[in-house]
């Protein structure tokens, strides 16, 4: 599995995302400029320029028409992917930590930092789109609603939309996870899943369960409906990101020694590796080395054929999986599949 190195950012990566077809990669870093790359060869397609500070987060909509970025310069910018023009800019009260389109693409959630007397919130903005072309025809500047940090919770670090935009799940700095109605922001439920800050939440392809990663070195697979922990993946270093692979029953975890300790540890001891775990059996299957700083974000293409990791070292490493990755199966899985196949044959014969 030879990685493709995406060199273009001058500072640490903050987020890496695939579009729905998996042919483009959207990246943002602490260097004020977001980039778009071809996933097939790692060639840079273009950049989104305009932010004045670190871009913490980036997302792309269902049809790869618009991208959204959230920055430490107190703004959220909406971009047209085709030509890289800035369509709209929302001003915010505090730095923006995370942005994400709802699955239908007509809302954007933003996680706003809790600084300068602001309690911190998950704020939802609205876009109006043309029903036919999906073009954004109007942007509402005022937030649709704010979900302010509740009492007894620390501020949210990350948040994500569930299936069909029905719910919003937020991960807090104290390791709690809270769940809100995606239409009006009403609080529904919460659970204490981690002991330290939650660093990432990514959903399954169908948005019915999600994986959390935390600074407490664990990642958990959680059911959306009940917030019940389905699986736990224990590691030996703080985690910054986790994703669920389609096609294969794996999860990919990324992290490493704290950024501030990096200078004092060698890259070997820093555990700057992407770790593959079996989603169901919770065993570690393999690691991919390469970065010489912690992995800040890992993302897998929606087709499950490649993954990319963005590191503190300023590089994006893009990997297209080998045949051995697709062939790998536990005996248990093979025999279960075989039995299923035989049953199908029998029922077809009957």
């Amino acid at each position: 599995m030879r990685p493709i190195l995406l060199k273009g950012h001058e500072r640490s990566l903050t987020q890496v995302k695939f579009n729905r077809e998996g042919d483009l990669i959207f990246t943002c870093a602490k260097d004020n400029v977001a980039s778009v790359w071809y996933s097939i060869n790692g060639e840079r397609l273009g950049t989104f320029e305009g932010h004045q500070g670190t871009i913490w987060s980036i997302d792309v909509d269902y049809n790869t028409q618009y991208a959204v970025t959230g920055s430490a310069d107190f703004s959220i910018k909406l971009w047209k992917v085709e030509d890289g023009t800035n369509v709209f800019t929302w001003k915010t009260k505090t730095p923006v930590r995370r942005v994400e389109f709802s699955p239908s693409g007509d809302r954007i959630l933003a996680v706003l930092d809790g600084v300068m007397g602001y309690a911190g919130s998950v704020t939802v903005y609205e876009l109006k789109r043309d029903a036919q072309t999906q073009e954004v025809v109007d942007v509402v500047e005022q937030p649709l609603f704010d979900i302010l940090t509740r009492e007894g919770f620390e501020i949210a670090a990350v948040a994500a939309w569930s299936f069909a935009g029905n719910y919003i799940v937020a991960g807090h700095k104290d390791g709690k996870v809270s769940k809100y109605d995606g239409r009006n922001g009403d609080f529904i439920d919460a659970a204490e899943l981690h002991t330290q800050s939650i660093s990432d939440i990514q959903f399954s392809p169908d948005g019915t369960y999600f994986i959390t990663s935390s600074r407490d070195s664990a990642a958990r697979l959680v059911d959306m409906e009940t917030l019940e922990v389905l699986k736990t993946y224990e590691t030996d270093c703080p985690l910054n990101s986790a994703c669920i692979t389609p096609l294969k029953q794996f999860v990919i975890l990324g992290g490493g020694q704290d950024a501030k300790d990096v200078t004092t540890t060698s890259s070997r001891e820093g555990k700057f590796e992407a770790r593959f775990y079996h989603k169901i059996f919770q065993d570690e299957i393999g690691r991919v080395k390469g970065h010489f700083g912690p992995l800040n974000y890992v993302a897998v293409s929606p087709q499950g054929t490649s993954y990319a990791s963005g590191g503190e070292d300023g590089f994006v490493r893009l990997h297209h999986f080998d045949k051995s990755y697709f062939d790998f199966k536990y005996d248990v899985e093979k025999s279960a599949e075989a039995q299923k196949h035989m049953q199908e044959l029998e029922s077809a014969a009957a």
Binding site: A164, E225, Q249, I280, F281, D331, V332, K334, A336, E337
Partner: protein, 739 residues
């Protein structure tokens, strides 16, 4: 001193030969008393008037003289009626004659009204007593003894095979567990058999040897099923369908006078050494005397594939018996075949070209050497019709052996020939194709003398081991050549259905071997050519060959044959004395028996790739016997289906294997299995819930749109200019002039 003097007289020293005892013998001779064994009582004779007595006496005397010389004949007279009483006494000169008369004339019909009943005089005593019951009693059938299900081992959940291990006095039956310690099928028993044990051809019965005869064992716990009383039985053979057992003992059968009721043999078996038994009932069905002055060739009775006929070689004759007709000679007489040397039945029913509706024929083949008025011949004959299907005439023959392919499609007549000077020997292979019209024969000529021959089971390829002749007689120089044969296959034939007649071709050979054994996997494709330790060879070696190698580089010398040979492995086991494939054809057991070799006894099991999957060195190890299996009941269609889903099947079996490997793995696999089930269950539950609550369909994979409008074909042309050069060239032609 007196005792020592006595001791000095030795009996051997007294001369006796020149003493005449005849006077003493005469003096003390005892007149033998009247021996009642010499008399027979005859009933059912005609009642004749007194006047006819001399005539009747004359007739009867003549009749009974057939059995031996008649000393006296006595017809008692009824004084009142002045006629004979219808019974008479006959005195013979010896008990033997009397016995013969009973055998010969008992039940003899004199005419329509009269039938003679001949009994010995002692019988009269026996039958005449008060105690003798005159009423007819139905013979009592012995109560039906239920046995365990005899094929229970085939129901093993994992379809494992069994084998027997013999070590010292111990004999045990084990389950084959691949690389792991074999599992006891029954607790090993001491002295289960005096010598070796033997399975029937389909594995249903296990036979053991004892002083009193042979015993059969079977069922889940190998209980004793039947005993076959044949003292000192030394050899046994079982017919192909497991119906009959043949035993041979060096001791002739002696039927005692007062034989108990359950004594298996009748008086006609006296002196016989060969015995045929019904395996299911344990009863003797036929006994044979050994033919005089003949080399003993085991098996002495050979069976047709369906057990309907069996045959025995006699001097200048072949005796074929109809097993279903009380072992009567086929056609009432033996077949006279001048000089017959050897014969063999086809191991399966032959699909002859003349047969309709897939009928199968019993076929046998035999050969006769050259004699004054005819050449050496090999003959293929159908039984019971005795129709000669094919005769192969041969010249300058020193020996002939017959080799059937296991499905009776081919018969190879291996002819060892000599040159006129009789100095060099070489072999011809005459291959009869039984399934084709008129049984054509294809001849393969070899340059050297083939000593071993082996057909591929269910196939049409074979391997030979031949000896090259060298001037040097040094036994340390390997002289054997292993040669591989396969039918020719030209590229075109693959498509053409009606191929030209099959021709065999040697397509590879390996010289410089000591090899003395060819052992094909029963499933075909794989063959082991081995050197086993014999009195002549000291070091065993093994060569595993694959006839259908799937890789690129094969060991073929020529490629227009239906084979792709590759030597796959040469595992080591220097002290091996025997080998046997398991019934599935996946494993081959090789062992060193303490009976044949003193060092390094034990066994190894190899897979088809020649990898050792299990080895155990055991002191005083004697024997390894795989339990055979009956033919699979799957139809060809079902088999094809299995082959199609082989990947699915093997996935399940691999998991089973992994689970067996150790208990920790087993736990792990079980827990994983439940985790996987749990996850599948969770996803199913969620799918139902999401559908019900939110009308939302869950999925695991983003569906990729295949609609054309979602795609755009981008053509990118890359041009790279390697070099640019500008040059001024003087024109070759004169500028065109206008005309």
């Amino acid at each position: 001193m007196a005792t020592s003097a006595l001791e000095e007289i030795r009996i051997e020293d007294i001369p006796v030969d020149d003493v005449d005892f005849s006077d003493l013998e005469k003096k003390f001779e005892v007149e033998s008393p009247v021996n009642f064994d010499n008399f027979v009582v005859v009933d059912g004779a005609p009642v004749a008037p007194e006047s006819k007595v001399p005539v009747l006496t004359k007739v009867l005397t003549k009749l009974f003289s057939q059995a031996g010389s008649v000393v006296d004949i006595n017809l008692p007279l009824d004084e009142e009626k002045k006629s004979t009483k219808g019974y008479l006494f006959v005195e013979f000169d010896s008990p033997a004659s009397a016995r013969k008369a009973i055998k010969l004339l008992n039940g003899k019909k004199l005419d329509v009204k009269h039938r003679l009943f001949v009994n010995s005089l002692t019988d009269v005593e026996k039958f005449g007593t008060e105690d003798f019951d005159t009423e007819f009693h139905e013979p009592k059938f012995p109560e039906f003894q239920k046995t365990d299900y005899l094929q229970s081992w085939l129901q093993d959940e994992q379809g494992r095979d069994q084998f027997v291990l013999q070590k010292g006095e111990l004999t045990g039956v084990f389950w084959n567990r691949n690389t792991q310690q074999p599992e006891n099928a029954v607790e090993p028993r001491t002295n289960w058999s005096n010598t070796t044990v033997k399975f029937s051809p389909k594995g249903t019965y296990l036979f053991s040897f004892h002083n009193q005869g042979v015993a059969s064992w079977g069922g889940r716990n190998f209980e004793r099923l039947r005993r076959f009383f044949h003292p000192q039985a030394k050899a046994l053979a079982i017919s192909p369908t497991e119906k009959y057992l043949v035993t041979l003992s060096p001791e002739p059968i002696v039927v005692p006078e007062d034989a108990p009721e359950d004594f298996p043999f009748g008086p006609e078996s006296n002196g016989h050494q060969l015995c045929v038994w019904d395996i299911a009932t344990g009863l003797s069905v036929k006994t044979f005397a050994l033919p005089p002055n003949q080399r003993l060739h085991w098996p002495m009775i050979k069976w047709s594939f369906d057990d309907k006929y069996c045959a025995r070689l006699g001097p200048n004759a072949l005796a074929v018996y109809d097993a279903e007709n009380n072992f009567e000679l086929l056609g009432g007489k033996i077949m006279k075949i001048e000089g017959i040397q050897d014969f063999s039945f086809a191991p399966a029913g032959a699909k002859l070209a003349v047969n309709r509706n897939g009928e199968l024929s019993s076929v046998l083949a035999f050969w006769t050497p050259e004699s004054n008025n005819q050449s050496c011949k090999a003959t293929v004959m159908e039984i019971p019709t005795r129709r000669v299907l094919r005769t192969v005439n041969l010249v300058q023959v020193s020996d002939v052996t017959l080799h059937w392919q296991n499905q009776a499609e081919y018969l190879c007549v291996k002819v060892d020939r000599h040159t006129k000077s009789k100095k060099t020997f070489f072999s011809n292979l005459e291959i009869c194709k039984l399934t084709e019209k008129d049984v054509p024969v294809e001849k393969v000529e070899m340059k050297d003398l083939a000593v071993r021959f082996g057909w591929e089971p269910k196939g049409s390829r074979f391997v030979t081991i031949s000896t090259t002749e060298t001037a040097d007689d040094n036994p340390a120089i390997p002289k054997n050549v292993v040669t591989f044969f396969a039918p020719e296959q030209k590229e075109k034939i693959k498509t053409a259905v009606k191929a030209e007649p099959k021709k065999w071709k040697a397509f590879a050979s390996v010289p410089g071997k000591f090899s003395n054994t060819i052992s094909w996997s029963p499933a075909g494709r794989f063959v082991v050519v081995a050197t086993l330790v014999t009195p002549d060879t000291r070091k065993a070696d093994f060569d595993f060959y694959d006839f259908d190698f799937t890789g690129e580089k094969n060991d073929n010398d020529s490629d227009d044959v239906a084979a792709n040979l590759k030597a796959v492995a040469h595992p080591e086991f220097y002290s091996a004395t025997d080998m046997q494939w398991d019934p599935s054809g996946r494993f081959v057991a090789v062992w060193s028996s303490a009976v044949k070799h003193k060092l390094e006894n034990g066994y190894k099991v190899f897979n088809v790739a020649g990898e050792c999957v299990r080895e155990e060195m055991i002191e005083a190890f004697k024997n390894f016997v795989w339990r055979p299996r009956p033919e699979s009941l799957l139809t060809n269609g079902e088999r094809k289906k299995v082959r199609k889903n082989l990947r699915e099947w093997s996935a399940q079996f691999e998991e089973l294997d992994a689970m067996q490997a150790d208990s920790a793995m087993r736990e792990l696999i079980l827990s994983r299995r439940s985790m996987l089930e749990g996850w599948t269950q969770y996803r199913e539950d969620r799918a139902a819930l999401m559908d019900e609550e939110y009308n939302y369909q869950v999925f695991d994979q983003v569906e990729q749109s295949t609609a054309d409008e979602d795609y755009e074909v981008v053509e990118e042309i890359k041009e790279e200019i390697l070099e640019e050069k500008e040059e001024e060239v003087a024109s070759f032609e004169e500028p065109a002039t206008s005309e």
